[in-house]
């Protein structure tokens, strides 16, 4: 077992354990903070995969923006009483069973897929992945349309969210 594999396993364990904490802890703010830990672990995975840009963007967007928004929302809607009782539905075992079934099915599928033994592709020497990503995002024969549509999507999200908030104010 190489050092890289050990780091991967530690990170993977961290991600899974904190994901389990997200779905099980009672205190919602703790759940949000556990989500931050899980997202940070995912950023480490991106770093191991040498996706530099995504690794930092994961921290900037998820931890710096989305997690903060979650924490604000939790604080705005918090009521002591809500954290006293059970946080899961009475029939929680059905989703658990469903999750386990899907996981088993996926694992079987993944392990029978012939491509899984593939080794990592060689990164061409001197390739700046961020620059390559930028070229892919703006070239007309690649992803310029999704790139611009993403911006329209964000505009729609902003307008929608602002509209909901303003209507509420009156």
């Amino acid at each position: 077992m190489t050092a890289e594999q050990i780091i991967f396993l530690l990170t993977g364990a961290l991600v899974l354990v904190s994901a389990l904490m997200v779905v099980t802890v009672r205190n919602l703010l703790h759940a949000a903070l556990w989500l931050v830990v899980a997202l940070f672990g995912v950023a480490v995975l991106y770093a191991i995969l040498q996706a530099n840009f995504l690794a930092v963007v994961q921290v900037v967007v998820y931890i710096g923006a989305i997690a903060i928004l979650f924490i604000f929302a939790v604080m705005l809607t918090r009521r002591e009483a809500m954290e006293k009782g059970r946080q899961t539905r009475n029939n929680w075992w059905i989703p658990a069973l469903l999750g386990l079934t899907i996981l088993t099915g996926l694992a079987v599928l993944i392990l029978s897929f012939p491509g899984v033994q593939r080794t990592e592709a060689v990164l061409p020497a001197g390739l700046d992945t961020v620059q390559a990503l930028g070229t892919a995002l703006v070239s007309p024969d690649a992803y310029v349309l999704p790139f611009e549509v993403a911006s329209v999507l964000m505009l729609a999200a902003l307008v929608g969210a602002v509209y909901i908030a303003t209507v509420d104010k009156k």
Binding site: L16, V22, A51, L106, T129
Partner: protein, 103 residues
Amino acid sequence: MSIPLSWYLILAAALFCIGLYGVLSRKNAIAILLCIELMLNAVNINLVAFWRYQNAAQMAGQAFAVIVFAVAAAEVAVGLALIISVYRRRKTVVADEINLMKW
């Protein structure tokens, strides 16, 4: 260069299933959104792993992951705005109690 692709896929599958369990079992609407984030991240791990193990000069996987980031942000923005709006009117964020359109 020695982590098999299967490890990433299994990890992502496990993360996805944990998120799925959370979405279906948690009562609080904000917690449900938290779990959706876990599921989206599982998808992203897959996309980036495929990018790395397929052809690293082809940026499709990373470009898709970037779009998933945008979708996640939009989903959180609108979702939380709706939850807070509902909370202000009905003083609850429990998904089962938001049943105006249920029959």
